[in-house]
Amino acid sequence: MKNKHIATLALAGSLASALAAVSATSAMAEDSKEKCYGIALKGQNDCAAGAGTTCAGTSKMDYQKNVFKLVPAGTCETIKTPEGHGSLTQGPAPV
């Protein structure tokens, strides 16, 4: 009973502090167009829309052979993984 009372006080106090902190910084300048239409900032990668469908064909051909001989060769080369790192399934599953 006593614990619960303290918890209630702590909750209310924390929320009040958070509300005060947010109102002090709420004059955040936001680009209104971005706010209304989701226009990406310059240089920001915003492909979240997905390519979607097309009614056009393509003349680009880049057939891959020997899929399983492929080695990742992108910017992952800038990331150092400690030796012997386990597989992802060891971690808690996000989402």
Binding site: K33, C36, Y37, G38, I39, A49, G50, G52, T53, T54, C55, A56, G57, T58, S59
Partner: protein, 287 residues
């Protein structure tokens, strides 16, 4: 029975809307009659795609162009997808709805391409059923687009122009004449594009498409054109467009540029080139 809403885009030039052009578009009044979107890219619940489209809709006529209904499939129409199209049309009340003479789904898999069908009495009956169903569900007279094709089915017994004419006659639907597709298909099958247009039921046409194509060759080295929408409209396609407009008068005419999308002014110049051809045929009472 309720009357179907007609397709009623202005007889002017338009372009396919690309989100990257949104800023440039709303900065000024664009000399365009309408924008066209691919229906399937606006089937999310909310977010920026709908915010932008709603904003565009305030100022411009809208054409909703489906690319995934698979009207040319021998399988029954996807009623769930038809429901999505109905909801989208209810939300935006477009001036026009169009789809393709093609299939894109089979046994539950979606292939994301406009694939060809044989032209036979059997497929004709099927497509007619499908167009009837779409028009009934949407309460609209739809436009059906002629495809760009790369090969022929040996079992086909009906010419494409005749096939489209019969669909239009039996369903009352309009046609979307893609002039680039005419040129691409005619070249790929060594037909005369002008003769194709002579046989095409031009009276049923409610919209024109223009786009760029790529050039390659087939196994024997014969020209093989690809409907790639990744460059400017080519001269012979403009010439065919002029022929159609000379015969039919101004029609809603869309420039499609879907791959390697250029900066807005480049796309706008293409639309202005189309507008120039249309405006030569405007008559005082047609405006």
């Amino acid at each position: 029975m309720q009357a179907l809403k007609p397709s009623r885009l202005p007889a002017r030039s338009g372009v396919g809307f690309k989100p990257e052009h949104f800023d440039a578009i709303i900065e000024a009044v664009q000399p365009l009659g309408f924008f066209e979107i691919h229906a399937e890219n606006y089937m999310g619940k909310g977010g920026p795609p709908h915010a932008r489209l709603s904003r565009l809709r305030q100022d411009y006529a809208l054409s909703i162009h489906g690319v995934g209904l698979s009207i040319g499939s021998p399988e029954p129409l996807d009623e769930i997808h038809l429901d999505r199209l109905k909801a989208l049309c209810d939300r935006y009340e477009p001036e026009s709805f169009s789809e393709h003479l093609a299939w894109s789904s089979h046994e539950g898999t979606y292939y994301n391409d406009l694939l060809p069908l044989p032209y036979t009495e059997e497929t004709l009956d099927r497509v007619v059923e499908h167009v009837d169903r779409v028009q009934e569900r949407l309460g609209r007279r739809m436009l059906l687009e002629n495809p760009a094709t790369y090969l022929l089915f040996e079992e086909s017994t009906i010419e494409e122009t005749e096939f489209l004419a019969l669909i239009a006659r039996r369903t009352g639907c309009g046609l979307l004449l893609d002039v680039n597709n005419v040129f691409v298909s005619a070249t790929n099958h060594r037909l005369d594009p002008a003769a194709y247009l002579d046989r095409f039921p031009l009276a049923a046409v409610g919209e024109i498409h223009l786009g760029g194509h790529a050039e390659t060759t087939d196994d024997l080295g014969a020209p093989l054109l690809i409907d790639s929408h990744d460059r400017a409209v080519k001269d012979p396609v403009w010439a065919l467009f002029e022929t159609v407009i000379a015969r039919r008068g101004p029609l809603p005419s869309l420039v499609e540029w879907d791959n390697d999308v250029p900066a807005w002014p480049v796309l706008l110049r293409e639309a202005e080139a189309a507008e120039t051809i249309l405006s030569a045929r405007y008559t005082p009472d047609a405006a």
